[in-house]
Amino acid sequence: MTQISLAKCKVDQLVKLCEEFGNQEGELINVLHKAQELVGYLPREVQEVIARQLNIPVSKVYGVVTFYSFFTMTPKGEHPISVCMGTACYVRGAEKVLDEFKRVLKINVGETTPDGKFSLTSLRCVGACGLAPVVLIGEKVYGRVTPGEVEKILKEFN
């Protein structure tokens, strides 16, 4: 017997959530959206509960989770970093800034540092093109970021 364990309150919430969607297989994406809102990410245990409730193989759930970049199986860091890769930021060197974050933190996009402090994502346009390239850390906005400033910015959170 394979045992999957998850906190009872979380299981109850997920069960309720699936019920709200009538435990319908066709509602899988909606259920996953809500579940990610609830838990912050979609770890294996959450996917197993959803599979059981919707009566579908967990491989199907996992297939959908890995297909859409919106869904993540990695918990977000304490300070989530988003680097804008929209056109304006991109042409002003956002890729180099992103690469510097990857180098310093030793993680890739979509990953979280082992100490859980930082996670790294890229997004498309935050509507502050005048400040390009833009980086968001938590709620804080950094404008006209250069690769040379990355280490200094990160130190603010130590």
């Binding site: 394979t2 299981v11 197993e48 193989p57 491989s59």
Partner: protein, 590 residues
């Protein structure tokens, strides 16, 4: 059917029924459009046409893009060209791109010579791969039955269709997107930790070497060369109906005699038959059926009906993982493979004065789940398995070729006694419905004390997924059902769970068509007529046997007299029965 669509393919006119695809129409004209992901097992109603590989593209006049012929329906006055420069170029580029992300270890690949990607590269005359780029790399996953190498996956999704739509197992699924797409178990788990039942149907349909069997051929060669070991073999009923295909014989040619001769030439000390153990299975399972039935007739409310067959290890894995709440329904009888091993390593070994540790029992099976089954702890004595290992029909064919045995020139030889004798009832175990029919032949006679004049139960024969029959047993209407493919079995189990099941006995075989369509059989390459023909070979052999009821097998009679006592005796229980385990997933709430 009404032919109401007329079109032209390569300047030839054809009329086809509405709904026919261009590919099907072209094949009717003898135009062989290459395909990779497409597979249509017509007789079994199993079809894969996701139009994902794009090898089968054709040009349709008036249409801007090339059309995938497997998924494009014929329309009136359509003008289709299957071999223009544009089409040929497109196919080549698609294939070259596929090959650019495929390992080039064809010389040592288990699928070499049987690979549809290789065949297509030959057909399209590919001489170089102009695209150099990133390659998908995955670790190889070895399970007791299946070797999974996702690096070779071409994303045809046939295995996914078999695993999900036909078998409803759901072990394999499409993961990720774009270049990193691959078919694998959830969370990149090993098959052994997934829902996999080892039915092997993914292996049976994989066009490339991504899914193959775990081979024991080298182990067998070593054991046969070891003079201190006595190596004996048992062959499952379905093997003889398919082995000939590997030597160019038409499907449905029974090669029992040649197979026995080949095994003897390979150096097995004794060539025995799993059919003997199939007769033994009927004695035990039939007795168990009558026991439960008579208890039911005597008003026992607690009796567990229907009784369900337990010969098929893929099915056993399925119900242990998916229906752990119903473990008391299947018969406790072990599969014929395991009954054979248990008897060979006790009764026969003692008779011959061979020590257990010096005896190696090998089985030749149409099945990959049998490899897993032989490794189960319940079937070991002090760590020594009753059946040391199992090889597939394909592995046997390859070994015969490797050892220069000219199969076609072999004389017909007979199995050795005593574990080689069997009845017609045992032979038909290899086809869906066979176990039920064999059980009915014996159970009827034991229950009524009358001779069964017509032993052919036509109602349980055939390729349909679900067959039902009602048999009059001295006034009692015995209701039986026969299911093949795990998806069909799931429907019956759901009825059972819901309390709406109306049968007294159910036979389940995991593979489409039964063991003849097993995961270890020669590759059908999408031709379901081959599976049908194999069944015919078994029923013909049954009709030609002098004994056709398991309880009439003289060696079975003496096995009980000399050793086991009677069916379901204590010794029979110990050696021939088993128990099942809850291997389902449980979510623990903390």
């Amino acid at each position: 059917m009404e032919n109401n669509i007329t079109l032209k393919i390569d300047n030839r006119e054809i009329s086809v029924p509405k709904g026919t695809t261009i590919l099907e129409a072209a094949r009717e004209l003898g135009i062989d459009i290459p395909t990779l992901c497409y597979m249509n097992l017509k007789d079994l109603c199993i079809k894969n046409a996701p139009a994902s590989c794009r090898i089968c593209v054709v040009e349709v006049e008036g249409r801007k893009n090339l059309a995938p012929s497997c998924a494009t329906r014929c329309e009136n006055n359509m003008v289709v060209r299957t071999n223009t420069m544009r089409v040929l170029n497109a196919r080549r580029v698609v294939l070259e791109l596929m090959l650019s992300d495929h390992p080039s270890d064809c010389l040592v690949c288990a699928k070499s010579g049987n690979c549809e990607l290789q065949d297509t590269a030959i057909k399209l005359g590919i001489r170089e791969i102009p695209f150099a780029g990133e390659k998908s790399e995955f670790k190889v996953d070895l399970s007791p039955s299946i070797r999974r190498d996702a690096s070779k996956c071409i994303y045809c999704r046939r295995c996914e269709m078999m695993c999900n739509d036909v078998q409803t197992v759901g072990a394999l699924g499409a993961v990720n997107r774009g270049f990193s797409s691959v078919v694998m178990p959830a969370f990149d788990e090993a098959l052994i930790d997934s829902e996999c039942t080892f039915c092997g149907q993914c292996v049976a349909v994989c066009p490339v070497g991504a899914l193959t069997e775990l081979s024991h051929t080298n182990r067998l060669i070593n054991d046969l060369a070891n003079p201190s070991k006595t190596v004996i073999v048992q062959t499952a009923p379905a093997v003889r109906a398919a082995l000939g295909e590997e030597f160019g014989l038409p499907a449905g040619t029974s090669v029992t005699g040649k197979m026995v001769a080949a095994l003897r030439q390979l150096g097995f000390a004794k060539v025995f038959d799993t059919d003997f153990a199939a007769d033994l299975t009927i004695m035990e399972e039939g007795t168990e059926l009558l026991g439960r039935l008579n208890a039911f007739l005597n008003g026992d409310k607690e009796v567990k009906l229907p009784i369900i067959t337990s010969c098929c290890p893929g099915w056993v894995n399925f119900f242990e993982k998916q229906f752990p709440d119903l473990l008391d329904r299947p018969s406790s009888a072990r599969s014929p493979q395991q009954m054979f091993g248990a008897i060979a390593k006790t009764y026969w070994a003692e008779k011959m004065g061979i020590k257990r540790e010096d005896l190696i029992v090998v089985s030749v099976m149409p099945c990959l789940a049998k490899k897993f089954e032989s490794e189960r702890d319940e079937f070991k004595t002090n760590g020594d398995p009753d059946v040391n290992y199992s090889i597939s029909t394909r592995e046997l064919a390859a070994l015969i070729k490797e050892t220069n045995i000219n199969f076609m020139q072999l004389p017909d030889e007979d199995f050795d006694a005593p574990l080689g004798e069997s009845t017609g009832a045992a032979v038909i175990f290899g086809a869906s419905g066979g176990v039920m029919e064999a059980a009915l032949r014996t159970a009827y006679e034991i229950q009524t004390g009358k001779t069964l004049e017509n032993v052919d139960f036509e109602g349980v024969r055939g390729i349909e997924n679900l067959k039902e029959a009602t048999i009059d047993v001295d006034g009692f209407e015995l209701k039986v059902a026969v299911a093949h493919s795990l998806g069909t079995a799931r429907k019956l189990m759901n009825e059972l769970r819901a309390g709406t099941c109306k049968y007294h006995a159910i036979e389940v075989m995991a593979c489409p068509g039964g063991c003849i369509g097993g995961g270890g059989q020669p590759f059908h390459h999408g031709d379901s007529a081959r599976i049908k023909a194999r069944a015919k070979a078994l029923y013909t052999e049954d009709a030609e046997k002098s004994f056709r009821k398991s309880h009439e097998n003289p060696y079975i009679v003496s096995l009980y007299e000399e050793f086991l006592g009677k069916p379901m005796s204590e010794r029979a229980h110990h050696l021939l029965h088993t128990c099942y385990f809850n291997r389902g997933k449980e979510i623990i709430e903390q």
